[in-house]
């Protein structure tokens, strides 16, 4: 095109980033790769697969498929390296992480181009977002390695971490996994996604260049089958997975009862809420970053637009206008906004879901601009006239497809935003500060971005609520996935059921021990009792569980809305009433004293287990909220019946949860005796519920129940079963022997989840 023609048309023209250095790198390896295990490259194996460039469907390289021998070898190498790696000390680990960060910066463009070739995302994103965040992550965690001893005294690494990452942010997800693991003294076996293994292999070369000790990082390649081998490997201590909720469930089941620590970062259908007083042009620009970033193949993509009805028509008009200037094309072109979809299978999924949405009545808008057919491309798409009941409003599309709905009031916005099984992220747009904070607190999601979207940083934890998974990546909260707290030095003696003493008067009237549900003593639905030590106790069944969960769910929101100060008052009052009824409880004086002390501990922390402000490189404030998980259930051990019950109640309700406790099967009497004290202590109805009966049966119903947000199982015989059944709604689990009551922070960590709220500054 001549200069005079361009002068008239003012077209952009092509602006390609050269692929040559990345191609040369592939060629230098003969376009085939082995795996990086124990500091050495394995021979490219015969069992191998192709990775393709999604923008032109051309093969890039042949990559080896890891089978059992390779996984075994990698885990073995990681195991051997781990003690040495931890014991070399924080400073030396910091030096290695620092070296990784520097190397990535020095080869930033090669990484960016290679990532774009393998993944299909625009070079603008790999160059300006992915790779800078990668080096930032290693720098930040080099710092954590350096100060681990001081900042996390007594913490120890988990051991060998198996890490399985997705194809949408290949190197970034690698950094989110490897940096904190190495910082805390763990070693890793990491498997990149089969569609995008290349930058992980280039990363392995960096590990060699900086002289990282053998076995500290092992990179294995392969498909889901290789992933399964890692998950099921008996010598792996922790699994960290980012990917689909479906696979997350499988991993939850596979690791249940094995004692493997688990963190899952899964899918989402994140709401993007625009109020009528928002800066609309900016909110629209935010949408571009929310749903047309990385072709919408982002777990936290703002894929559900909720816009206030009063501005909706105009807002969608403006949005369509903005969509018309998005450029879809060669991802190596510097002026392209939307690159290629990862694979044919994903493209077909997007196409079929959009077709289904339209069939269900959605109105579709796609701008008329060109959309290449040389690779797997899909145009930016808006589906309006969609209701919460539409398929496309519920399922994660994982493509450049936005669904739009409207709301009338802030309360309705929250209701719609939370009307999803997921809870990964959300955006809120308003110029009203009070409204922004209010909505940020009410949306159930691990991250809330106010007047911004898709902000990430190593200093801030990222992860989900609900079926978006558990665990955080980044920030202090993320470290706790890779380090375990010191074992408490004070051990508590266990208490058996107190045998009757000759001084106890014989019972004169028949005593009926019922259940405690919704603030009332309730007869069991089934009408059966169990006998323990000569007394009758109600036998709860699945309907009693159902009733208790409903009562708890109803009570929880209001309870969480109370101040920590008020919750503390209730716990103190409960302790006081326990003290006053000391003589009438069938427990030893020591156990009771310890129980009262534990209630005081949790009451004390009710207004002290607060969040922090993160040091993100962001003009604004990133603050964390330690929010209650919601409805917590606790399956309690036979011994220390009262102490275990009071610990669980104290930990759960101090933070604003409601609890359903399954007390000691062997000694339910103290629990039954607690009903009246709870009634007398201003504990709101439904906040504490107690069900006597068969723990195995009740634990199964609770673990299965989608309305239960967390389950603590302090009976070793039931832990595996509870973990496995919890895969249904991916509720958080804590299966262990009864934790020491005085280990208050550990309890509270399990009764809260971290929300990160990003609020920019500037008028």
């Amino acid at each position: 095109m001549s200069i005079t023609e361009i002068f008239d048309s003012m077209e952009y023209g092509p602006a390609p980033e050269t692929a040559s250095p990345a191609i040369q790198w592939l060629e230098s390896h003969g376009r085939q790769f082995g795996m990086f295990i124990a500091g050495e490259w394995t021979q490219p194996s015969a069992d191998s697969f192709q990775t393709y460039n999604p923008a032109n469907k051309q093969p890039l390289a042949r990559v080896s498929q890891a089978g059992s021998p390779e996984i075994d070898h990698a885990v073995e190498a990681a195991r051997a390296a781990q003690p040495v790696w931890f014991q070399m000390g924080g400073h030396r680990r910091a030096a290695f992480l620092y070296a990784i960060a520097r190397q990535i910066q020095k080869h930033a463009r090669l990484f960016a181009v290679l990532e774009t070739l393998d993944n299909g995302k625009p070079i603008r994103e790999t160059r300006d977002i992915d790779i800078p965040l990668v080096s930032r992550h290693f720098y930040h965690h080099a710092g954590w390695a350096q100060v681990m001893d001081r900042e996390l005294p007594g913490y120890e690494p988990i051991g060998v971490c198996g890490q399985i990452i997705p194809w949408n942010f290949p190197l970034l997800m690698l950094s989110w996994k490897i940096a904190p693991a190495l910082a805390m003294g763990n070693t890793v076996v990491l498997k990149p996604a089969e569609f995008t293994p290349l930058t992980a292999l280039l990363f392995a070369e960096i590990c060699v260049q900086i002289g990282l000790p053998r076995g500290v990082v092992n990179i294995v390649t392969g498909d889901g089958e290789s992933g399964r081998l890692i998950v099921e490997h008996p010598d792996v201590d922790k699994i960290a997975f980012t990917g689909s909720t479906e696979v997350g469930r499988m991993i939850r089941k596979a690791t249940a009862g094995t004692g493997k620590k688990l963190s899952l970062e899964l899918g989402g259908k994140s709401p993007y809420v625009v109020f009528e007083d928002a800066d609309q042009d900016s909110a629209i620009e935010g949408l571009v970053d929310a749903i047309w970033f990385n072709q919408g193949q982002v777990c936290c993509a703002g894929s559900r637009l909720l816009v206030q009805e009063s501005i909706a028509t105009r807002f969608l008009e403006k949005l369509k206008l903005r969509m018309s200037t998005l450029r879809v094309g060669d991802p190596l072109d510097k002026s392209v906004d939307i690159g290629a979809i990862i694979e044919r299978i994903q493209l077909e999924r997007i196409q079929s879901l959009v077709a289904q949405g339209v069939a269900e009545g959605a109105e579709m808008y796609q701008p008329s601009g060109p959309c290449p057919t040389s690779g797997w491309f899909y145009p930016p798409t808006l589906l309006s006239n969609v209701g919460p009941a539409s398929t496309v409003a519920q399922v994660e599309i994982f493509g450049p497809v936005l669904v739009a709905m409207t709301f009338r009031t802030p309360a309705e916005a929250v209701a719609l935003a939370n009307n999803t099984p997921y809870g990964l992220a959300s955006s809120v747009w308003t110029e009203n500060l009070a409204l922004a904070h209010d909505i940020a607190a009410k949306i159930k999601a691990g991250t809330v971005w106010v007047n911004c979207t898709n902000q990430f940083d190593a200093a801030s934890g990222f992860g989900g609520y609900r079926e978006s998974g558990f665990g955080r990546e980044g920030g202090r909260e993320g470290l706790l996935e890779y380090a375990k707290p010191p074992t408490p030095t004070t051990q508590t003696s266990t208490f058996d059921a107190r045998s009757s003493t000759p001084n106890d008067p014989p019972p004169t009237l028949d005593t009926t021990h019922k259940l405690y549900i919704g603030g009332k003593q309730a007869r069991p639905d089934g009408g059966y009792s169990i006998q323990v030590a000569g007394q009758e106790f109600a036998l709860a069944n699945r309907k009693d569980v159902r009733n208790a969960v409903e009562a708890a769910a109803t009570a929880q929101a209001a309870w969480a809305g109370q101040s920590g100060h008020l919750r503390a008052q209730v716990l103190y009052y409960l302790a006081e009433n326990l003290e006053n009824t000391r003589g009438s409880l069938s427990v030893s004086p020591e156990e009771l004293s310890l129980g009262i002390q534990t209630l005081f501990d949790f009451a004390a922390m009710a207004d002290k287990f607060d969040g922090q402000v993160h040091g993100t490189p962001f003009k604004g404030v990133t603050y964390t909220l330690n929010e209650p998980i919601g409805v917590v259930s606790a399956v309690l051990p036979d011994q220390s019946a009262l102490l275990a019950l009071l610990s669980a109640i104290g930990a759960a309700i101090a933070m604003g949860n409601a609890i359903i406790a399954i007390p000691s099967r062997a000694n339910p009497l103290p629990a039954a005796q607690l009903y009246r004290i709870l009634e007398a202590s201003d504990v709101p109805a439904g906040v504490v519920n107690i069900l006597t009966g068969e723990p195995a049966e009740l634990a199964a119903v609770l673990a299965d129940h989608d309305g239960v947000d967390a389950i603590w199982c302090f009976r070793e015989d039931l832990g595996g079963e509870v973990e496995s059944r919890s895969a249904g709604n991916l509720k958080q689990t804590w299966a262990t022997t009864l934790p020491v009551p005085s280990d208050v922070r550990t309890w509270l960590r399990h009764s809260t989840q971290v929300k990160n709220v990003w609020i920019p500054m500037g008028e």
């Binding site: 952009y12 603008r124 007047n451 920019p760």
Partner: protein, 327 residues
């Protein structure tokens, strides 16, 4: 890419007559600074032009340039020199080397103080390049109102076809929207057939919300262009400010159907900056706004850098300032 939409080229831009002051609109304006800054920061990374596209765009930037001299020491001699440069902004051999003779590239206007208007008009006679005069108590805008109106009329009488006025910042800072509207409307009336560019002096308005409110009122009052700066404030044309103003222009067009022009001025010195501004216009407002009936860049030294870049395109070698004739 699809064929460019050139329908707008076939009809002249209809002049904005203004509309009645709409305070509901003014009061509904919300601007979120951090979000604006994010868009501004990422925009240059989202679009770029290379090779002949870059050269063509730089030539386009020249045609959108208000070549400006606003020195207290301006003389007829320096103005004459500037006008000569306006007519032949790029060395003829260079234009031939890149094959752009047919474009007859010249600047969008020459911008001077009132005293220099008649000199500039004389020097530019027959070239089609309009003379723009800064007026109405430029740059402070605080001389007696009557005199400011008279100054506009005097410049128009001397042959200025464009008038760059500056608003009373106090009206914005104190939310005196009616007073601001009346002021700009009076200046517009004084302009007659001459086009009115309204300088908001954005660096002195305190907030981006104020910038957008002032932009909207200036357009309601009949501004043909809205312009960032006098060049004398400590902060001049920045991309975030530009974004807020062009979004106001887009909204005004959507609501009224009138296209108002945009002129960033002050601190635009590099060829790269001029491309960033063109990209901003194209992305936010579309192709009609990358031509000089709706887009101007106020600049005095920018041209020299553009010439160097054009020479680099033509020869593949980096150029030096002394190879290009001064203005």
């Amino acid at each position: 890419m699809s064929a460019p939409d050139i329908a707008h080229l076939l009809r002249p831009t209809e002049r904005n007559p203004g509309i009645p002051l709409d305070l509901d609109w003014v009061n509904s304006i919300r601007v979120n600074r951090s979000a604006v800054e994010r868009r501004a920061a990422t925009l240059p990374g989202r679009r770029t032009v290379k090779k002949q596209w870059q050269a063509a765009w730089l030539l386009r930037a020249i045609t959108c340039m208000d070549l400006t001299t606003l020195g207290g020491d301006d003389t007829p001699g320096t103005v004459q020199r500037l006008c000569a440069k306006a007519i032949q902004p790029v060395r003829r051999d260079l234009i031939e080397a890149i094959g752009a003779q047919s474009l007859e590239v010249k600047v969008g206007a020459v911008c001077v103080y009132h005293e220099m208007v008649s000199t500039a008009v004389r020097c530019l006679q027959g070239t089609g390049i309009p003379v723009a005069a800064v007026a109405a108590g430029f740059p402070h805008g605080l001389s007696p109102f009557k005199q400011r109106v008279e100054e506009i009329k005097a410049s128009v009488e001397s042959g200025a076809r464009e008038i760059d006025i500056v608003i009373t910042r106090a009206h914005v800072l104190n939310n005196e929207w009616r007073a601001l509207y009346d002021e700009v409307a009076a200046f517009r009336e004084a302009c007659g057939e001459a086009h009115l560019k309204t300088i908001l002096a954005t660096g002195e308005l305190g907030t981006l919300r104020n910038v957008q409110r002032a932009s909207v009122i200036a357009m309601m009052a009949g501004a043909d262009f809205i312009k960032t700066s006098t060049g004398k404030e400590s902060v001049n044309a920045t991309i975030p400010v530009g974004l807020v103003m062009v979004r106001a222009i887009r909204e005004y067009f959507d609501r009224t159907g009138y296209r108002v022009g945009y002129k960033p001025a002050g601190g635009i010195r590099t060829a790269k900056q001029s491309l960033d501004w063109l990209i901003l216009m194209k992305e936010e407002l579309g192709d009609p706004w990358v031509r000089n009936d709706l887009f101007r860049i106020g600049a005095s030294t920018l041209l020299a850098d553009i010439e160097r870049q054009l020479e680099h395109y033509a020869t593949g070698r980096y150029s030096a300032f002394n190879r290009h004739p001064m203005g």
